[in-house]
Symmetry: C2
Subunit: 213 residues, 2 copies
DNA sequence: TAGATTGTTAATCGATTAACAATC
DNA sequence: TAGATTGTTAATCGATTAACAATC
C-alpha cells in the first residue's frame, strides 16, 4: 500500500514538533493553534499546517489542535507506537554511552546486546548485558529478533559488517561510522557523523570571526 | 567584510566532500573531475561544481580539480586551518566518550577540560584531565581561552548555563541537550539531537514496513 | 451568528539540474 | 588544434510562504 511520499525536510521536523508538544502536554496545555506553536518554535504557522496536512488533518477549524491527540498522532507517524530491539556493535566509549542512555528505552528502543572485536572487553557489562565477541554476532542474530544495529566502530569494520547484519535480518542501521554504507533496498540507514557536525560548527565560528574582524 | 551568504545546504555538504577528497588523497589520486566525484559520491556533477563555485573557482577547464589543493581549500573554508580549545560540560557517558575521541585533536580541536555537577566524579580523569566541579567553570573560563563548549547535560542544566558560557567568552556551543538554546547574536550553535536522529530511523523503518506488508 | 483557525490552493522563493560558452 | 572539463547562465523542480475559502 503506497502512501504519498513525504519529503525528507518534513520528516526531519517531526521529532522537533514532538518535543515541543511533549513540553506543552507536560505543562497541561490542552489546545494549541498553529500560530501559537509557530511563535514557540520559530517557524511559520503556514509550514506547521502544511507539515501536519501531509498526514491528514489533525486540527479543527476555529479551535486549533488538541495537544494530546496531536502528540499521539505524530508519535505514531514516527513509528514510536511499537518496540524495537537494538544491538550495539562497538563497545568503545561511544557504544557504551549509547547503551547506557536510558531515554531510548522510554521511547520503545530495547537494548539487547553489545559486541566488540576486542577480546579483553569480553565479560565486562554494559547496562546489564555482557559484552560479546563480534564472532558471535551471526549466531546471536539467528537466535534473537533484532531490528536495529547501532554501529559505533571504525569505518573499515563497519563496511565489512553490513552484509552479516542484513543477511541476518537487521532492518535498520544507526550509523556512527564515518562512511556511507551501501545497503540493499528496504534496509534503512540513518547517519550520525559527529565529526561532520563539529566541522559545521567550526565553519560557522571561523566564518563569523572572518566577517567581524 | 561581508561575504556572500552561503546556504546551509551547501555547508552541510562540505564535510562530506572533504571526507571523499581525503580518501582520494590517501590513495594517491592527483586529480578528479566533477564527473568522477559525482559518481563516487552519488550526487550530480552540476551540484558539485555549483557548490565549489560558491567559494571561487578551484578547478581548471579541461583538467578537473587537483585533489590535494581542493582538500586544503575546503579545509580552510570549514575553518580547519586553525586550532580550537574546547571543554565538555557533563561528564556522563556521552561527555566522557567525546572527551576520549582522539580524532577531534587531529582536526585541531583541543580538549581542555571537563566539568560536572556531581561531586562524586571530581578527581576522576578523562583523557588526562581531572573532572572539575561545575562551580569552578566561571573561574576556569576567566583563566583559560576556550572557544567551544560541548554540552552533554540534561536540558534544564543546559539552558541555565548558556549565560555563564557566553558571558565568559565562549563563542560556539556544540549542543547535545534536547533543547533549543537561546544565544546572543554572534554565538554559534550546532545541535546534535541523538534521540531525534533515532526517531527518523524508526520513521523510515515503520513506514517501510507499513508500505510493504 | 460572528470569530477563529484550519485545510488547501496559489504565489514566491530558493535550490538543484541542465546546458553551453569559455578556456585550459 | 581538438578534446575535456570547468564556471556560469538558464530552466526546472521542490519547498516555503501567503492568501483565503471552508467550517467548526
Amino acid at each position: 500500500m503506497q502512501e504519498k511520499e513525504i519529503s525528507q525536510a518534513v520528516v526531519s521536523r517531526l521529532p522537533r514538533y514532538l518535543r515541543y508538544l511533549g513540553e506543552l502536554k507536560e505543562k497541561g496545555v490542552e489546545r494549541v493553534s498553529s500560530q501559537e506553536l509557530s511563535q514557540l518554535m520559530n517557524v511559520t504557522a503556514s509550514q506547521i499546517r502544511q507539515d501536519f496536512n501531509n498526514f491528514g488533518g489533525f486540527g479543527q477549524q476555529g479551535y486549533g489542535y488538541n495537544v494530546e491527540y496531536l502528540y499521539t498522532e505524530i508519535s505514531k507517524i514516527l513509528g514510536l507506537d511499537r518496540e524495537y530491539n537494538f544491538i550495539i556493535i562497538g563497545a568503545g566509549n561511544l557504544g557504551r554511552a549509547l547503551g547506557n542512555y536510558l531515554n531510548f528505552e522510554r521511547r520503545g528502543f530495547i537494548f539487547k546486546g553489545i559486541f566488540d572485536k576486542d577480546e579483553s572487553l569480553v565479560g565486562k557489562e554494559v547496562r546489564g548485558e555482557k559484552i560479546r565477541l563480534i564472532s558471535e554476532l551471526e549466531d546471536f542474530l539467528k537466535n534473537n529478533t533484532v531490528d536495529i544495529a547501532v554501529l559505533t566502530i571504525p569505518k573499515v569494520g563497519a563496511v565489512g559488517l553490513v552484509d552479516v547484519l542484513v543477511d541476518n535480518g537487521i532492518k535498520a542501521i544507526w550509523n556512527f561510522a564515518h562512511v556511507d554504507l551501501d545497503v540493499p533496498d528496504g534496509v534503512q540507514v540513518e547517519n550520525v557523523h559527529l565529526s561532520e557536525s563539529l566541522m559545521k560548527l567550526s565553519y560557522k565560528l571561523s566564518r563569523y570571526e572572518r566577517e567581524n574582524k
